[in-house]
Amino acid sequence: MNEENLFRLRVEYVKQGRLRYLGHLELIHTVERIVRRAQLPYAVTQGFSPHMKIAFSSALPVGTASDCEWYDVFLTAYVPAPRALEALAAASPADLAPRRAGYVDRRAAALTAALTRARYRAVLALEEGAPSDEGRARDALVALCAADGIPYLRGKKTKTMSLARTLVSAELVARDALTWELALDTRSSAEGALRPEVLIRAWEKALAAANGGAAPRDAVAAVLAEPLAVAPYGIFAHCEIARISQNIEDKRGILVEPLPLGA
């Protein structure tokens, strides 16, 4: 197989409904099966353990939905993009449906390295009994976002999620008395990405303390003082997180689509 004769098909797909509970490895295997069912002429790596040449955008946390996930699959023959898209759609469960497909430069950077900008939207349903004050919530959010990072527990290990490196902006909008919407703009690098659920749980924990009478700023400081358990803290009844865009950021800081129109 000559690398130069390969075609790099880039596909955008959704991850939604029940299938947002798939883990990243489960997702990878499922997509590989979709490609094989679609009978696309996928390329296979050489060597001891041959497998499909395919690469994915960065992992979504289990439970987070998205309508902008990506993979690149290398093909040994050119298949018109609309036809490839149609074959993939016929082989996919609806909750992993492909949205767009097109060819990109074979030598382009890998998706995980290229897609450094992601936006998330979290819809937060407040517990009906004790709705929180929006002003306090905003103060707590501002205080939290000014922190360098959030220490949290992952299993038994303590990790720190940097905010200085990963958070571009956070914006709170109250849709109604019981529903808030949090919009997050993030930037990832080789050193890591923002995990929306960690930020939201830290904020929720601070809010719980603020509701108890602490000043929002002090409540945030207390939250940051010890590793956070990512569990519900009684403020939000539900929290639905979705990744709503992924982009390449060029040298001038301009956001570029992963698949240029007309590709």
Binding site: R18, L22, L27, I34, R37, G63, P93
Partner: protein, 625 residues
């Protein structure tokens, strides 16, 4: 009142973020066949987690067969893992089917797969979660009819009070007859008791409620089952056989899971039955006669299956795939077809006496991982006793060829506690393992010798019903532990690692394999004391079972180890795979004399009685080597 058949996914969805592996519970997989609208609903349940149960071929076959029936919808069910089960109980959510997320209790039939003895408490856990009474006698008109079938129904008595009807043998045709009869009797509004009595008229169906347990002077405490007076139930229920196996659809699988499974691949059953005649092996008796599919049929089914599922591995399954008369040709044709696709072919294992390097290289995409061989016993004498017709020369030849071709790791399976076993036989296991290392020193280049390893895995022999060793007791636990120590201290080489199965697990397996209906209260008591998922080492606790046994007045060691006398009535004699008692007795005597018996697919009939009793015959494509 019977709950409505309705989608209750919204009740478990809030629990998903809080449990391990939520993909176990989400359904919506590729290839689901269940129908939304149906007159008659069946839920087939595997008594373990999703990822253990999904690859099961038996359920895949019956799922396809039932959903192909007009008006019948068949869904699947699995047992939620302990974290989910506890959360469902706390939230008051009943056990749900997978496809429709409907209460299991809303189905017409709940079909339990019986994969092995160690699932016993899991049936009770499932009934309890579903809100179905655990005892057949306590179920009412609104409860589903609970049927059970699978490889481990050949001593159904320990489970008999929990199951309304056992389907003995191969279910392809049988389960349809049972469901149609139940649909008819439901529509005729017959009471449950009469509906069960009607099932007993269908060949292969064992309805425990129609039998009494009788005792005579020497059968206490287990007894033997006899039809109740006036019940018209058969004295012996013979297993069902899909006589024209090659006419059945070789592509049983339809569902492609999201969760990563233990066996995550396309499986094609290339042959059914094995007539090698190992005397300890229950499957070797219960799956007879031997029936092969043609290479053409298998190759076409693989192509169709890969296209439908998108798997990257296909396994050619059976009890003994390399015995297939066209095995090599099948592998060659498949490898040619699958070249440059990254898709590999695998077979479950190879026999030592027919090991072939070329065949081994033709599977697993040419990867040289570990090779696994079942040697079973450490001396030729004992291998003759159990009729495992492999020799030390076979081991020598196979391992030499494998080391020369580049394999470096071997796993050898043995059993401990086989009839007539002595300390010499145990030391023989160590000697064989050391010998394999010596061979490697001869054959493997010096620079690579460090990577050579032999692992010896030793299980405790569990005597099984309907085998020539069915009268034997299990070796007692203290003696098992002594022999395990003897083995460990007999091994010379550092590169030999010895693993042995937990003697506690084997003890309970023997109790559940050899006991009668008197064991059922023990299972219930153990479940009540928290036993579930006993097949998982992290959950199994013999202490729980010992306490339960004490409460029931049962001596576990006695049940496991006490031999039966030839001629004595046995707890399992009323359900039969068709083998004749005379054959089993003859084989037992030949075993004691270390006399072997040939394979009837390679020599003449050995008189097991199955073909004439069931009206079937071996069907082999070509002459077997």
């Amino acid at each position: 009142m019977r709950p409505a058949y309705e989608d209750l996914f919204h009740l478990i969805e809030p629990l998903l973020p809080q449990v391990e592996k939520p993909s176990r519970y989400i359904d919506h997989e590729w290839g689901v066949l269940a129908k939304r609208e149906a007159r008659f609903r069946v839920c087939l349940m595997y008594p373990d987690t999703y990822e253990v149960g999904l690859p099961n071929q038996g359920i895949a076959i019956l799922y396809r067969v039932l959903n192909a029936q007009e008006g019948i919808s068949c869904e699947r069910g699995y047992l939620p893992w302990t974290d989910m089960a506890d959360k469902m109980r706390a939230a008051g959510v009943p056990l749900l089917s997978l496809e429709g997320a409907a209460p299991v209790r809303a189905f017409d039939v709940l079909g339990m797969h019986v994969p092995h003895e160690m699932a016993a408490t899991n049936y009770l856990e499932a009934f309890d979660l579903a809100g179905i009474p655990q005892l057949s006698a306590d179920r009412g008109e609104d409860d589903p009819i609970v049927i059970a079938g699978g490889p481990s129904v050949y001593n159904p008595e320990p489970l008999a009070p929990f199951i309304d009807a056992f389907l003995i043998g191969e279910g392809e045709e049988h389960i349809v007859e049972v469901c149609r009869e139940l649909e008819r009797s439901r529509d005729a509004r017959l009471p449950r008791r009469e509906r069960l009595a009607l099932l007993a008229r269908i060949p292969g169906t064992y309805v425990p409620a129609l039998y009494d347990v009788a005792f005579d002077a020497e059968t206490a405490p287990h007894g033997f089952a006899v039809p109740k007076e006036g019940s018209a139930a058969p004295g012996i229920v013979y297993k069902r056989v899909a006589a024209d196996f090659a006419a059945t659809d070789p592509l049983a699988q339809s569902v492609v899971p999201y969760a990563e499974l233990v066996h995550d691949r396309l499986s094609i059953e290339v042959l059914r039955g094995c007539a090698r005649g190992c005397r300890f092996c229950q499957a070797g008796i219960t799956y007879r006669p031997v029936r092969e599919r043609s290479a053409d049929q298998v190759v076409a089914a693989v192509a169709r299956g890969l296209e439908r599922t998108g798997y990257d591995e296909v396994s050619l399954t059976s009890l003994s795939t390399t015995d297939h008369s066209q095995c090599e040709r099948m592998l060659d044709r498949l490898n040619e077809r699958l070249a440059d696709t990254g898709i590999s072919v695998s077979i479950p294992s190879q026999r030592l006496d027919s090991f072939d390097v070329e065949m081994a290289e033709a599977v697993a995409g040419g990867k040289k991982g570990g090779l696994t061989f079942a040697v079973e016993a450490g001396s030729q004498r004992l291998r003759d006793v159990i009729n495992k017709n492999v020799t030390e020369e076979d081991l020598d030849r196979a391992m030499r060829a494998a080391f020369e071709a580049g394999w470096r790791r071997a796993k050898l399976y043995f059993m401990m506690g086989l009839p007539t076993e002595t300390d010499d036989d145990i030391r023989g296991i160590a000697r064989l393992a050391d010998h394999v290392i010596d061979l490697a020193q001869e054959v493997v280049p010096k620079s690579q010798r460090g990577s050579v390893s032999v692992s010896v895995s030793v299980s405790v022999f569990v005597p099984k019903a309907h085998t020539p060793f069915q009268w034997e007791g299990q070796l007692d636990r203290d003696e098992v532990k002594r022999r395990q120590q003897l083995l460990i201290h007999s091994v010379r080489h550092r590169n030999v690692r010895v693993h042995y199965h937990d003697a506690d697990v084997s003890l309970l397996e023997a109790v559940l394999s050899r006991g009668g209906r008197d064991i059922a209260p023990l299972i219930q008591e153990a479940w009540a004391r928290g036993a579930r998922f006993d097949a998982w080492t992290e959950h199994f606790d013999l202490g729980t079972w010992r306490a339960a046994a004490e409460a029931c007045g049962i001596d576990l060691d006695q049940v496991a180890c006490a031999p039966y006398r030839i001629g004595q009535r046995l707890p399992w004699e009323h359900t039969s795979p068709g083998v004749s008692q005379g054959y089993l007795e003859r084989e037992y005597r030949r075993a004691c004399d270390a006399q072997t018996t040939p394979d009837c697919t390679r020599a003449s009939c050995t008189g097991c009685g199955i073909c004439p009793t069931l009206g079937v015959e071996n069907k082999i494509m070509e002459v077997r080597r």
